[in-house]
């Protein structure tokens, strides 16, 4: 089922808006289109409010009730995700498309051992005996880099470090060998060293399982380290997309150019304290800004 000839995921003309508390309509995604081939890594870069998480949730069909899809469709292995029943969707989520959540501390249940939480995924999707599942969980814990899986199996999330919790949610995501992994800011809560370690782990697991990956981040270094292709989002639209080398070397959109300039301006090699960092003039906040900011504008910038 997860074997699709050429196109794994195709998003076409997707427009999503939210209705805020006071009835205002806010467009989070406008006419977004993208494609993903099997085994490919796509990086989606954008700053707060640009719609990148809405896009991830749209693919998972996990948008909140306040969200409304105005136009567009999302095809996964040829099937239109938007026309599937909740039951059919449930068989895809976690099994064929899996999400590596942003904050493992929040997405893990604090009162259930992590082994059991990985087991839950297997139980929901595969018909294995409890014995087989337990072996599988141990195997998964080993795969994500735990040296003594049996010690981790019974541990509770609070007993683990941030990096260890991240490994646990990655184990959950790859448990059913999905064809597509979506990592939403997979490393934003980690320090620099762990960030590159987790990036490597995710890349390596993805490659060995032959899964495609969408990595969503505001951190250009994360995307740069992992992606074959990149898409830059600004205010709900994809403003530039292409092969990573191409876009990074010859960015054409002013926003992409500015973001790359800023990212490259902070360097280990610079000569001590600098005068000023380059900035972007435009307010990077996206469609959510009218409500969040209540018309508040940056002053004198």
């Amino acid at each position: 089922m997860a074997h699709c000839a050429d196109q794994l995921l195709g998003i076409h003309d997707l427009t999503v808006s939210y209705t805020s508390g006071n009835g205002e309509c806010l467009r989070a995604l406008s006419s977004v289109g993208l494609e993903l081939q099997p085994n490919e890594v796509l990086g989606i870069v954008g700053e707060s409010g640009c719609g990148k998480s809405t896009l991830a949730h749209a693919v998972m069909q996990l948008l909140p009730a306040s969200a409304r899809r105005e136009t567009g469709d999302i095809r996964f292995c040829g099937a239109n995700l938007l026309s599937l029943s909740e039951r059919e969707l449930r068989s895809i989520r976690g099994r064929q498309i899996a999400l590596v959540p942003q904050d493992p501390a929040l997405s893990l249940n604090p009162v259930i051992s992590v082994g059991t939480q990985i087991d839950e995924v297997l139980k929901a999707h595969l018909s294995l005996s409890s014995r087989q599942r337990k072996d599988r969980v141990m195997e998964l814990l080993g795969e994500v880099g735990f040296e003594e899986p049996s010690k981790i199996y019974g541990a509770y999330p609070h007993q683990l470090s941030g990096g260890q919790r991240q490994r646990v949610v990655i184990a959950q995501a790859i448990a059913c060998r999905p064809a597509l992994l979506i990592a939403d800011e997979p490393t934003s809560k980690l320090d620099a060293e762990l960030r590159s370690e987790m990036g490597r782990l995710l890349s390596q697991l993805r490659a060995s399982h032959g899964a495609a990956l969408i990595v969503i981040s505001h951190d250009l270094t994360v995307v740069a380290a992992m992606a074959d292709r990149v898409a830059f989002m600004y205010q709900g639209s994809i403003v530039e997309a292409g092969r990573r080398e191409q876009v990074f070397r010859h960015p054409t959109h002013p926003y992409t150019q500015a973001l790359l300039l800023i990212a490259r301006s902070a360097r280990v090699d610079q000569d001590g304290k600098r005068n000023r960092f380059p900035t972007i003039d435009a307010e990077p906040a996206g469609p959510a800004s009218p409500v969040q900011l209540g018309g508040l504008l940056e002053y004198g910038e």
Partner: protein, 278 residues
């Protein structure tokens, strides 16, 4: 905002032999003692930025909390100008508390969500017994200084974006005329463009008020652009210290080498070389 001119004593902050232990483990078992900070020494001068870097759990934030007197030290001394703080009573400590202000990573959780921007900035002034009109005046000036419109003073803190909340937190800290700002991952978690704006603001404020900064960060690239000197922590100790250019160019300790290598690796990907593939 800070006392005028360069001082005869160069160091705003001096820390000597700072150690801090915590006990951990379940209450019903024998609790193990754990050394979070071990014999740390550091100094920051007027208008100077010292960056404290290290991986998670190396003790950076504990050092900061000890300097701000939010923790009692197990041993060691903390000097602000010519006064040693650790032996002072709570009452004697009061004037020194305003001299050291902290800015945290998550500005949202550091502010009362029911407060307006005005209340956030004016609360410390009210506690210091300033008059209403004085409070108002200072709050307006501070909003301008951090590049927020004074018209927004009446707005709830919830109406500010992440970067604006961080500006507000900086304004609140400046309200009590500190000499030292402790920036505990204050630039982490912000969007790139916002991070650059806040970094610029911090540079401007430092120049205007000769503020001393203790910048705690795991992001060496930001550190390189903001700090004068750098101290690297590992397992509670400072393992390497010196000027930013020396330490980052020629790291000598393994921990520093590891941190620099991780940052360089990320940078090289960003600079992009042909044929590299994930």
């Amino acid at each position: 905002m800070v006392n005028e001119g360069p001082r005869s004593s160069p160091a705003v902050l001096r820390v000597r032999g700072l150690s801090k232990r915590y006990t951990r483990g379940p209450l019903w078992q024998k609790r193990a003692s754990f050394v979070a900070v071990n014999e740390v020494e550091l100094e920051i001068g007027l208008g100077e930025t010292l960056a404290l870097v290290g991986s998670s759990g190396s003790g950076k934030s504990t050092v900061a909390r000890c300097i701000a007197q939010l923790e009692t030290l197990d041993s060691g001394q903390v000097w602000i100008d010519d006064r040693e703080l650790t032996q002072l009573s709570a009452r004697e400590l009061l004037p020194f508390r305003s001299m050291v202000q902290m800015i945290f990573q998550d500005a949202a959780t550091a502010m009362n969500p029911r407060f307006s921007a005005a209340e956030v900035i004016q609360e410390p002034l009210r506690i210091q017994g300033r008059s209403r009109s004085e409070q108002q005046e200072i709050a307006e000036a501070l909003m301008k200084e951090v590049a927020l419109s004074p018209d927004c003073l009446k707005r709830s803190v919830l109406e500010f974006s992440g970067g604006q909340k961080q500006r507000l937190a900086i304004a609140r800290a400046l309200a009590v005329r500190p000499r030292l700002l402790i920036l505990d991952e204050a630039l982490s978690g912000l969007d790139l463009s916002i991070r650059a704006q806040i970094a610029n603001l911090l540079l401007d404020l430092q120049e205007a008020h000769s503020l001393a900064y203790l910048l705690i960060s795991h992001d060496l690239a930001v550190v390189a652009g903001l700090a004068d000197r750098i101290a690297v922590m590992s397992q509670g100790r400072i393992v390497e210290a010196g000027s930013v250019s020396t330490v980052l160019r020629e790291p000598s300790h393994d921990e520093t080498k590891k941190l620099v290598a991780a940052t360089r690796e990320a940078e090289s990907k960003l600079a992009i070389s042909a044929g590299a593939s994930a």
